[in-house]
């Protein structure tokens, strides 16, 4: 058969038989398998012929042959009428392109042996100069064919082709999709394929549209870009900016937005149909530029009305349009924020009546829920709108009430009261799931509060009250809420609250143990009597409580004096003594301070027509115990026997007289009054409780003042700690940088104002923690 052995070749002779076959293949005329093999081996023979390989000669002849062929083709195409040009070109290209692939394969040996070698040696020899050299002139046959096609044929008709293509696409835009749209796409694609040099990679038969091909073509599409894409984009820009002008005149803004969305969708589909992937993005960006960005002021102008009228459909359209534009949403976000804030402030502006805290929380939540839903449905939970919503609600929640000057916002107290209302045992049942939802939504508002430390103070006061009076709805719910706060604000924020919660659990355990202990004691000495006792032992510092003598403030210290000599009623002494001994055996190094003013007992009255049971405070018990032996006693005598004096005694007495357990001989009780036990006392309830002494109108106000006081102390301390921490790590810092870092560190608790920050810095300079450097506005840490 064929010998691989090199032999002398008569070039003219072999070529003259090879050449017609090449032309046939280029025209995609059928060729038999045997003939193909003959020709292939002819190429081989020429390339390895002795004495000298004739590769170069063959290469040149093939080149001339292809050039001649393309020249013929050009003559044909140049005479085609405009209407048929695209179709005819596409038909010729399809044949030529396919043919070129086969010819490339026919000269496979030439490609491998001659072209590659030639290029390699060229590259090796001039490796150092490679960047300055032109690409080697020798190409693989397939590429050579495409290049000749491009240079010799397409260049001469290119402007006509491009124009026809643009007209076709323009028609498509106007709604007249050309019947030959695949031809349009094919011609555009040919511009890319002409530069596709990667012949060996693809199968010859299905070269038309393999998916991974499009990626490759993006790399070298110089011809496509300069000769087609540029003019196409120019055309597109013109078309759509004219369209936008026209639509703006004819349509309302709402209609315009819908029209633009539709145009964009259609143009994207069109671009995908005709163009390369890389171009699609360019076209869409261009369309957005001329139809949206160029007219965004017009959209912004109606934005305010759309938002205040809550035109959600239009707003969603506007969001879709402005989203891809750089910084396009800012106007919208601002309008949204303002509107939410306005609505929120309206919702909390006219609160009155009994349950202001509940109205406040519920109204804010209504606004939150409404606009949060709107943010999800209309603005796709966009981050910019989320932060706009947050900013607005923060403004609402922390709004200072108008006309009251620089009063702290009420939100902290209201929210604390609201949660107190939820967590207090009430007659109205609330299901666990309801409670859970309400507590969770309270946290939503909590996150917006700036003065979280004030909230903490109020919350801990109310929690203490619930725990001590045992009026919590359930321990699980209390713990649940503390955990929620911890999640929102961190361990440190809730550590005291957790401690309080823990103390109650420990106290219950301790009481049970004490009960068992008492049973043991009684076994040994059955004569001893102990009243059933429940004792709460609270850790100092964690609870917002203190014995009267420890408290600050002029009013309470006077009370402390009046209470200094208080003698515990005899009936209570044994169990208190026993408890103290018991406690000392359990713990060492601790001392207990009894809060008599908050300790309560249940007293049964056995001298009346009904067996009333009255819950009262320790001091009230002490007073009543004086009437064990006598019905009529003077205030002075009472004072002597229980050791309480002054105003406080009168207040205690008043609470008992108010319940008509005792009768006074004067309308207002004074130190010289006499009191008599009311033997005819009746009450509608068999069980009731006495008021806590000292309850008067100012107490609540004082409570708030006290909170404000401790808060400002805590803030000062927190602020100084923050400054020292920052300066310790930074060593030297400019004033402004320091202020920024301080703001950052404290915002979880409260929003400090600048004078307060400056004051704290001054104080620390005085205390020699930091000093000014010789630079302006700079501080230095002193170790």
């Amino acid at each position: 058969m064929y010998s691989l052995k090199p032999k002398p070749v008569d070039f003219e002779n072999v070529w003259s038989s090879l050449r017609p076959s090449v032309v046939d293949i280029m025209n995609m005329k059928p060729i038999s398998s045997i003939q193909w093999h003959h020709k292939f081996s002819d190429v081989y023979d020429i390339c390895v012929s002795i004495p000298n390989p004739l590769s170069e000669k063959l290469y040149n002849e093939v080149k001339t042959c292809i050039k001649d062929h393309v020249k013929l083709q050009r003559k044909i195409i140049e005479n085609v009428e405009a209407e048929q040009l695209l179709q005819e070109y596409f038909r010729m290209w399809t044949v030529f392109h396919e043919g070129a692939v086969y010819v490339h394969q026919l000269f496979g040996y030439l490609n491998k042996q001659f072209v590659k070698q030639k290029r390699c040696t060229d590259l090796e020899n001039y490796q150092n100069y490679a960047p300055f050299l032109q690409a080697p002139d020798v190409k693989e046959i397939g590429c050579l064919a495409l290049e000749i096609w491009r240079e010799d044929l397409v260049n001469s008709i290119q402007s006509r082709l491009v124009q026809l293509l643009l007209i076709a696409i323009d028609e498509d835009r106007r709604g007249n999709t050309p019947a030959y749209s695949d031809v349009v796409a094919g011609v555009i694609k040919s511009f890319v394929q002409m530069e596709d040099h990667d012949f060996d990679m693809k199968e010859s038969t299905n070269k038309e549209s393999s998916p991974n091909k499009s990626k490759k073509t993006m790399e070298c599409t110089q011809f496509y870009k300069t000769n087609f894409e540029a003019s196409f984009l120019k055309d597109t820009e013109m078309y759509y900016s004219n369209l936008a002008q026209k639509m703006l005149v004819e349509l309302s803004c709402s209609e315009y937005m819908e029209a633009v969305i539709q145009q964009l969708e259609q143009e994207e589909m069109r671009a995908k149909k005709y163009l390369t992937e890389a171009s699609v993005r360019k076209v869409i960006e261009l369309c957005q530029k001329v139809m949206i960005k160029a007219h965004k002021e017009k959209l912004h102008a109606v934005c305010h009305d759309l938002i205040t009228n809550e035109e959600n459909k239009d707003l969603r359209n506007m969001y879709r349009l402005l989203k891809p534009i750089q910084a396009g949403l800012s106007v919208m976000v601002k309008e949204f924020e303002d509107y939410v804030k306005q609505k929120g402030l309206e919702a909390i502006s006219r609160l009155s009546g009994e349950n202001v805290p509940q109205q406040f929380v519920e109204n804010v939540l209504k606004v939150y829920n409404k606009f949060n839903d709107m943010k999800t449905a209309v603005f796709m939970d966009d981050g910019e709108f989320s932060s706009g919503l947050d900013k607005a609600l923060q403004g609402v929640v922390n709004a200072k009430e108008v006309g009251l000057g620089n009063v702290a916002a009420k939100a902290s107290e209201r929210l604390a009261r609201y949660t107190d209302g939820l967590l207090k045992k009430t007659s109205k049942g609330i299901s666990d799931t309801d409670l859970e939802t309400k507590l969770t939504s309270a946290i939503v508002i909590f996150r917006y509060i700036e003065d979280k430390d004030i909230f903490q103070k109020f919350y801990s006061k109310m929690l203490a009250n619930r725990l001590i009076t045992n009026t919590s709805i359930s321990m699980d719910s209390e713990e649940n809420m503390i955990n929620k706060l911890k999640q929102a604000c961190g361990y440190e924020f809730t550590s005291k609250l957790s401690r309080m919660f823990l103390d109650i659990g420990l106290s219950h355990e301790l009481s049970t143990q004490f009960e068992a202990h008492l049973t043991e004691v009684k076994k040994k000495d059955p004569k001893l009597e102990f009243v059933s006792t429940q004792t709460l032992i609270l850790q100092a510092g964690s609870w917002p409580l203190s014995a009267p003598q420890l408290a600050s403030g002029s009013n309470t210290s006077q009370t402390a004096q009046e209470l200094a000599d208080f003698r515990l009623p005899r009936v209570l002494q044994p169990c208190i003594q026993e408890f103290e001994e018991f406690y000392t055996s359990k713990h060492s190094g601790r001392k207990l301070t009894w809060l008599w003013n908050m300790s309560q007992g249940d007293i049964r009255f056995s001298y009346l027509d009904k067996q009333y049971v009255v819950t009262m405070y320790c001091h009230q018990i002490a007073v009543l115990m004086c009437f064990e032996r006598s019905d009529l006693i003077s205030v002075k005598q009472i004072s002597e026997s229980i050791g309480i004096t002054g105003d406080y005694l009168l207040k205690v007495l008043k609470t008992i007289v108010d319940a008509s357990i005792l009768l006074s001989d004067s309308t207002t009780i004074s130190q010289s009054s006499n009191l008599r036990l009311n033997l005819q006392m009746t009450s509608r309830r068999i069980k009731f409780r006495l008021q806590m002494p000292q309850i008067n109108k100012t107490v609540e106000k004082e409570g708030q003042e006290a909170v404000a006081n401790t808060v400002s102390q805590d803030r000062k301390y927190y602020m100084e700690c923050a400054i020292v921490r920052i300066m310790k790590t930074r060593k030297v810092l400019k004033h402004n940088a320091l202020v920024t870092e301080i703001m950052d560190q404290t915002k979880g608790r409260f929003m400090p104002d600048i004078p307060f920050i400056k004051k704290s810095i001054e104080d620390l300079i005085e205390k020699m923690y930091i000093q000014r450097t010789d630079q302006n506005d700079e501080y230095q840490y002193l170790a």
Binding site: V531, L536, S588, G589, S606
Partner: protein, 108 residues
């Protein structure tokens, strides 16, 4: 309840139970007492870490530790146990009075 009418005088009632407390016109049925505990210390701040003794010491605040209690020396000065055990590694004297440090008791 039974329909006993007890007068204010200490006349005995006709109650079934011979409980002596029942003789009184006021009977304490139940008692809820409230107390605050604190370490029994002279100075309530730890001289080593400058933190209140009722709170965890500085170290334990950054890495929570359940056993941050108080220790008293023979000199009756008190510190956080954690702070003191660090301290005596370098100097076995009370930081306040320079007496040799002998543990008198620990809080629990």
């Amino acid at each position: 309840m039974s329909t006993t009418d007890v007068t204010v005088t200490s006349e005995d009632s006709q109650k079934k139970t011979a409980n002596p407390t029942e003789n009184r016109p006021f009977v304490l049925k139940k008692w809820n007492a409230l107390a605050i505990w604190a370490w029994d210390v002279e100075c309530d701040t730890c001289a080593i870490c400058r933190v209140h003794l009722m709170e965890e010491c500085l170290r334990c605040q950054s890495e929570p530790n359940a056993d941050c209690f108080v220790v008293w020396g023979d000199c009756n000065h008190s510190f956080h146990h954690c702070c003191m055990s660090q301290w005596i590694r370098q100097n076995n004297r009370c930081p306040l009075c320079q007496q040799d440090w002998v543990v008198q008791r620990t809080g629990k």
